[in-house]
Amino acid sequence: MTGEQVIFLIVGAVTLLSGFMVVTVRNLVHAALWLVATLFGVAIVYTLLNAGFLAVVQVVVYIGAIAILFIFAVMLTRREAAETGAPLNNNWWVGALMAGLTFSGLVYLLQTWSGFSKTASTIPSGFDAISQLGAALTSPQGYVLPFEVASVLLLAALVGAVYLAFNKK
């Protein structure tokens, strides 16, 4: 077992454990902090996959913005009953059953696929993933149209969020 595999196993276990804590702890501030731990684990997984830029974006966008937004929302919607009541609804066993079936179904389907256990090809020397990504995002032969559509979507979400959360009284 190589060092890379050991790191992956540790990071994967921490990620799954903190993901499980996100969906089970009662205190929502704690759940948001466990989400931060999960997102850090995913960022390390990106680094293991040689996608350093995405790891940085994960830390800046997800941990820096989205997790903080969650903590703000939790603090704006506090109520005693929500803190003391059960964290899971009465049908939680149906949810657990569906999640278990989804996981076993996915693993079953994947292990019938021929490329399931293939290993990564070595990165050719001089390959610059970030400049390739930038060129792909901005060239008309690449993905400039989805990129622009995403920016319009962000603008629409900004306007919609301000309109929805605006206090009209």
């Binding site: 993901g19 969906v23 999960t38 913005a65 969650f70 109520r79 996981f103 256990s117 293939k118 959360a165």
Partner: protein
Amino acid sequence: MIPLSWYLILAAGLFSIGLFGVLSRRNAVAILLGVELMLNAININLVAFWRYGDISMMAGQVFAIIVFAVAAAEVAVGLALVISVYRRRNTVVAEELDLLKW
């Protein structure tokens, strides 16, 4: 070297945990936390297929960035909806939100 299967199983596990959270949590904010876990699992898959496929095809990373943008938009609108509902009904428990019009 790590085989592709490890990443796919990790992503499947994270996706299932997120699905459990979406189906089972009572608080609407916690349901959105579950959606975030599912989106992260999808992103792991996209980046893993980029790395283990043809590395000069950037589609996997580009699509992961689009998913980042969609996740940010989804959280902003979702939490604005939750805060708006909290102002009117004074609750964020999903099963107490049982009226189409107030």
